[in-house]
Symmetry: C2
């Protein structure tokens, strides 16, 4: 620890919570040597938690976690949602100057922020400001997002657990759909990236992938322009062939002009990041449902049975985390602490897959440091090779996801 | 088996699927002595499954399950949703005459129907018709409904598992709500009965029940008239005190005239039972959400953060059944078969609790036969003693539910 500067550490959580974001918090706290931190001579004096992210730091709303018992930390790690509280504040330059002032006030020398691309941008700005004034503050970003949209990462903590929920929900809901046939739309989270919606494909029985008719038969992600007429035609084809149709739609689907279809429907509420509300409303599903009822009603006949569910917030906080995700979320938190202990002065942690996708090698990852600027404020989208046409995902995407989400129950079909 | 008449047995599933309806199917099949049924001298020759309920019987769409391997039955038992397929057909007199004809055609002497109050009514009519013409058909109803609204039952198979999902989802979603504060509405299934919505109260930490501020702080069920102004006032009080509010609302809430508020919002689709569509739409949540945004916006200020999720079909088919529910669902199926074996000629199976609610005795139930007319076509509502004022449930309701749903994970709060 010779390269470590003496002072306090602060940790915060930001953005949409996940089922495993507290694993990262606990990983960092343990990695910083809690308990140990109170030993004379340990460079880190106190480990402070920010309540509701950087807002808590500005408002002196901090919780001292230095002496937390292991048993309490272990329970916290398994608790979904941001234990410290989260925030949607997106600090600008002036806000970040206040963050820096608060760090000086509390003799904070280590700043850890768990979040998505906006949070890494906060880290980047605070880091640049501290460098500019010569205050030795070491800023680390710890990745988190169910959207899986961080650049430089194979995948992000939070995504595998949300993907597991989506796959399980779609597998069970497809059984419901064949039991009481009709057209069923499930709207899934993902503002700009379709990974989570695409994970619905994991619901299909794997051994029947070739030519499988398991649902969802149609998958729409934001990376592919959503054309209403083509959508109606897709559904009509499946419905005509099977008398039912199971559909996964991302909340973030956009028209040819790049306008979010959901955002146009939901009387606009915007957060400080300029993000329009997409979640917490059933509007998109209901409009698509009404559209299908209207277009697919035979002349003089009755409309088909169409239902839409919007998975909502439970998909990001469902308390049955993927074990791989829980371990990795813990791992990135601990790795950030280790970076600090090794004398690194800043950086973001990224997950790198060391076993090639689809190879016979056992799934394995390693953590690495990347520059804050690599991740900050950027959005990763689904690459072409994860897509198959305009309404399906590729075999490679399934192989990419499978090791992360854990085993799914096998259902019996009569 | 001396009182048993020789012939085939038929089993069907009807209405909304559940996580454990296949347990009842398998319980009945095993109770009828499958494999054994093929032995010479066994009164039941074949065990037939109706595809999509009575519709399959009319259309000769039957599956012979007599020789199903145990391993397959055991997998089927653990598969959510109706394995045979379900139906929303509500047979009238003429339809039931066709059912009876199909029974004669296939030499069916045992008719088992797994479903809710509409399904028990089908059993009742078919039973009366067979008695009237002197065809010896033994009709048994096996209870099932997540709504928990069957008369004569302590509770119904399917409800505990759905209640478990609702409690888990609300417990996790409440952590989300305190992490990113705002007003959160969760719309929960229950067309006429509030039991499932009321189960959201199980999300609260039990050891802090007295004066607990855990969500949901407000619960609205169909048994209590929903008054819009009172609702807004309730939410304002909680929101003013805490800066957040967590609300559970039944899809079936009604105004003072008894009109369903949700049904008025959803462009009406009606099934053959005359039931208007309530599920598979986010309309009710969105309207309540818009109402709160409008009414709770301070003069010249910004609207509060309000989000609404509608739990949708996953709550009835989530593949993590309560163990108690799985065992009881199996038990009622097996008991129906035992009734038939004992020479009973008709009836519905009911669950009776033998340990008083809230007593120190271990939870225990027994199954009993009740007349079809007790259950048929009737709806059970939440009794007064399960309610506490117009927006909460009683301690007794919590004690009623707790033994059925199984242990919930304990979350750590900072």
């Amino acid at each position: 620890m010779s390269n470590m500067i003496e002072g306090n550490a602060v940790i915060g959580q930001s953005g949409g919570p996940t089922a495993v974001i507290n694993q990262s918090l606990v990983g960092a706290i343990k990695g910083l040597g809690h308990h140990g931190a109170t030993r004379p001579g340990h460079p880190i004096t106190r480990i402070l938690g920010m309540r509701h992210g950087v807002r808590g730091l500005l408002e002196d709303d901090l919780i001292d976690m230095t002496d937390f018992e292991d048993a309490r930390l272990d329970r916290l790690a398994q608790t979904p949602s941001a234990g410290l509280g989260s925030t949607r504040d997106k600090p600008d330059q002036a806000y970040c100057e206040k963050i820096l002032k608060a760090c000086e006030k509390h003799n904070i020398r280590y700043f850890f922020y768990i979040g998505g691309n906006d949070s890494s941008d906060t880290c980047r700005i605070v880091n640049e400001l501290s460098n500019a004034i010569g205050y030795d503050l070491r800023c680390f970003h710890i990745p988190k997002t169910v959207d899986n949209d961080l650049v430089g990462n194979d995948h992000t903590p939070g995504f595998p657990s949300a993907a597991r929920f989506v796959a399980l929900a779609c597998r069970a809901d497809f059984m419901d759909n064949i039991s009481l046939p009709g057209i069923k739309i499930n709207v899934i989270m993902g503002r700009h990236a379709g990974f989570l919606t695409a994970a619905s494909a994991l619901a299909r029985r794997r051994d029947r992938h070739e030519g499988s008719t398991d649902g969802p038969q149609l998958i729409y992600v934001p990376e592919v322009v959503f054309e209403t007429e083509r959508f109606v035609q897709d559904v009509a084809e499946v419905f005509d062939a099977k008398g039912r149709c199971h559909i996964a739609v991302s909340e973030g689907i956009c028209d040819a002009q790049g306008n979010s279809i959901g955002a146009q429907l939901i009387a606009g509420q915007t957060d400080d990041h300029g993000n329009v509300q997409l979640s917490g409303s059933g509007a998109l599903g209901d409009v698509l449902s009404d559209l299908l009822k209207e277009k697919l009603t035979p002349a003089g006949g009755t409309p088909p049975r169409v239902r839409a569910d919007t998975f909502g917030y439970v998909q990001r906080c469902w308390p049955d985390a993927s074990r791989v995700d829980a371990a990795e979320a813990h791992g990135v938190g601990r790795f950030a602490a280790e970076l600090a202990a090794s004398g690194e002065v800043d950086g973001s942690v990224a997950i790198e897959r060391v076993s090639p996708i689809g190879s016979a090698q056992p799934y394995a990852v390693q953590y690495k440091r990347v520059d804050l600027s690599v991740v900050a404020g950027k959005t990763r989208h689904m690459p072409e090779y994860f897509l198959d046409g305009h309404n399906n995902v590729s075999e490679m995407f399934l192989e990419y996801c499978e090791p992360m989400i854990g085993r799914l129950p096998v259902f019996e079909r009569l």
